[in-house]
Amino acid sequence: MTTTVSDSVGSVGSVGIVSPQTARFEEPLTLACGRELAPYELVYETYGELNAARSNAVLICHALSGHHHAAGYHSDQDRKPGWWDEYIGPGKPIDTARFFVVSLNNLGGCHGSTGPTSINPGTGKPWGPDFPPLRARDWVHSQARLADRLGIDAWAAVIGGSLGGMQAMRWALEYPERVKHCVVIASAMKLSAQNIAFNEIARHAIQSDPDFAGGRYLEHNSLPAQGLGLARMVGHITYLSDDAMAAKFGRDLRSGTLERGGEDDVEFQVQSYLRYQGSQFSGSFDANTYILMTRALDYFDLAREYGDDPVAAFRHAQCRFLVISFSTDWRFSPVRSREIVDALIAAGRPVTYAEIEANEGHDAFLMPIPRYRDLFAAYMQRVGSD
């Protein structure tokens, strides 16, 4: 059941080489949209060992462009480890010497789990734009089935940043008896109009690309690389803070000159960086998945079915909560986290909250920041001893 782990790659604190696994589910999953999905596959990785009492399992819920590969390396040749390697590994806050960590690619994703790039059994062609729309709750229900498959009755903690934090909160409401601790990082109970607006720009960029072909680009052997790249560029700006961009790029030039007497085109460092990010992303991510994920973000509203009352919603939870925000995060600002905390307090739920001083904007939740790391580690110690 556990992933093969070796020590051949990585420094101290790495889970080493990991291999993804695939779980196939034949039983139909009824989705929030009313449609049924079957069969479907979830690709996932695990780190650490499940204890005999099966009480040390931790679920990692990924954000918009995340996937199952959260820690360690897939091969000796990998340049970069998994996306949350700073926080998952032996001796790290999510300590794999203590916890059995499960990290999956969500349904609708494009890294191995069933999604728009998978073959629609009904047509024999890729799902593309016909893949059913998903909500955070659909992911939670599919994750619960994965938990069943792995023999995990209750998670010691469900942890997520950003869109992942939304899933973690939904877990606490949908399966209160299966969550002991809920860790919500740089997240919100629902997106603001500004936030939805940024997502709409991203979708519009993708859909306006002629190569998008109404979402059937795979059938046409094309890719909306321009549109997806542009979507990523916009998104990327919103994940950073003004200060972080100033510190990283300033007004430094990559080429050309601003001296008088020159007509050369000038390229700022930030321009070349954004283009690089855009083109990297458009080569590795699926446009339909991006649209699906941003819609799930937009539609998420924790308290909608609880009379729009977050306090009433959180009364259904039975777990303890850790909520963390970052001072310069303007995409999921500390105000949004405070709303979560206030609702939890009013609902009488145990909660710990910290606003971490950090320059990195929304991306801070992925970064090595000493205060964040120490607080997270201290809380996870407690998760392990509860």
Binding site: V341, I345, Y353, R371, R382
Partner: protein, 196 residues
């Protein structure tokens, strides 16, 4: 543990809900959890203290009392404690009101500025007192609202706050005879149990 906190402990009912305003590193709440099985929550603004309190297994919320406590529902705690923070908040009177709105009872401790040493220091040197207990200069101090035992009791009278109990702590752990008889002059620290 500080003397004032030792004195408070008997006033906390076993198994009750306790909110500690300015909980520091959580030493007091942790002791209450161990010895009186309270369900505790702390408020704190210092990052290192917050991490220390979380490491003690406590629930701590990063929140500045001076920006209000309106997010805590009426009567949602049995006891709201504020130890050695009254003199550091912007509106001590409003915080007292909030404590007794959120909690059935409030417990407050503060350094008594009417202590004879303060008076002697001010009277003979003509300068604001600086001591082991009040180590800050007047211009660079978190303590912006010093008061005396009499000042505090006058405020309680004005606000209609009932003083259920009061304890005075002198210089030593011995029973404070002088501080008991003449608290305004001899109490180093004043401790009050309050309700509406």
């Amino acid at each position: 543990m500080r003397l004032d906190l030792t004195r408070i402990q008997p006033w906390i009912a076993p198994g009750s809900r306790v909110l500690d305003l300015g909980c520091g590193g959580g030493e007091f709440l942790q002791r209450l959890q161990h010895e009186r099985q309270v369900r505790g929550m702390g408020l704190e603004i210092d990052p290192d203290n917050i991490t220390a309190a979380v490491a003690r297994g406590l629930d701590v919320v990063e929140q500045n009392m001076d920006e209000g406590l309106g997010n805590f529902p009426d009567q949602s705690f049995d006891t709201v404690v504020m130890a050695h923070a009254l003199q550091a908040v912007h509106y001590p009177d409003r915080v007292l009101d909030e404590m007794l709105r959120i909690g059935r009872e409030g417990i407050v401790t503060f350094p008594n500025f009417g202590h004879w040493r303060c008076r002697l220091y001010l009277g003979t040197r003509g300068r604001m007192p600086v001591s082991k207990f009040m180590p800050y200069t007047w211009y660079d101090t978190p303590n912006i609202h010093f008061c005396t035992v009499q000042d505090f009791e006058a405020l309680c009278r004005d606000k209609g706050i009932r003083i259920l109990d009061r304890e005075m702590v002198g210089n030593t752990e011995r029973k404070p005879l002088l501080a008991g008889a003449w608290p305004n002059l001899f109490a180093v620290t004043a401790i009050y149990r309050l309700s509406r």
